[in-house]
Subunit: 188 residues, 2 copies
């Protein structure tokens, strides 16, 4: 169980890979909804890319997809706008003291690089579920780790040292944009 | 048939609503690929939102979706970054001399408004297939049309008067970003 500061408990299914990322995703979505409704930012999760193969039409109004497959994402999960800046990030959960680098694919790394080149703010949000800690780490660090030979994961200590702890609360659940205020936007 | 300046002909299926938007979408996707590969901009079509209901696992490696439904989009089709600016737009095709306003839903209109408030560039790309003309029209105009009582469509003449004709070519097929250069970014 993960204890949230608001007293809410959430079940973490440790060995079910299909559930991995779902809790962090839910918390980010809730935070984005808060940011949107308070006119702070407009950031959304992109829909999961799905290849539709067969569609049936049980009646004129509705379409039922009967065969489809998940596609490998070529970009990141989230993007949007905050204080006039283009925001782009990926979110990852881990139940261990490390983030395996194969959790991100090379398309996503190239996408994060490209976002930076065009003047956007690119980062990764990483949740260490068993520690109940969430970090925001700028894409630079992640991109550089990918370049290192024989590097297969980023340790908890490296993320703690190079990233920023995200404040958890009730609304927003994960106040990740405040980190951009402190460490990025004011420096621009 | 639509005649493209490069001599390529494309079949427009006039009465097949399932095909509506697919040709414009393809042209915008090709243009975005050109912009991306030439490091001009990073703009992508968001995946179609789909509600997955049932998934079967024929083997350990693959997941087959056996029941799913299309969801109504709450945002627009495209977003990304160009010259440090957040870009957000919807694309619509029509085979008549008008764009029915019910082609856009109220969530999308609110989304375009919100993008503008946060300092992004929001617009709609409209293709008049039978005329082989594509226009870019800033969101302001579309949002204002939605406010008018008894307004059910925007006419071709209104779009021509208030929008900008998009140059068609080989690469990029639809050079819509040049319009932002001429009429938006230089004014900022």
């Amino acid at each position: 169980m993960v204890n949230y500061p608001n007293g809410k408990k959430k079940l973490v299914i440790q060995n079910d890979t299909s559930n991995r990322g779902m809790i962090l995703e839910d918390d980010i979505n809730q935070s984005n909804l808060y940011y949107l409704s308070h006119a702070i930012a407009n950031i959304h999760k992109k829909p999961t890319p799905i290849q539709v193969v067969k569609v049936s039409y049980p009646n004129r109004q509705s379409a039922k997809i009967t065969e489809a497959y998940f596609k490998t994402p070529s970009t990141t999960d989230y993007n949007g706008i905050y204080k006039g800046k283009y925001i782009d990030f990926e979110a990852k959960e881990t139940h261990k003291n490390r983030l395996p680098l194969d959790n991100l694919n090379s398309h996503q790394i190239n996408h994060l690089k490209s976002v930076q080149i065009h003047g956007g703010i690119a980062f990764v949000i990483i949740a260490f579920c068993h520690k109940n800690e969430v970090y925001l780490i700028y894409a630079d660090f992640i991109i550089n780790q990918f370049k290192l030979a024989n590097k297969s994961f980023i340790s908890y200590e490296e993320i703690k040292e190079n990233g920023y702890l995200v404040k958890q609360g009730y609304h927003p659940r994960l106040d990740y944009l405040s980190i951009l205020d402190e460490h990025y936007i004011k420096e621009c």
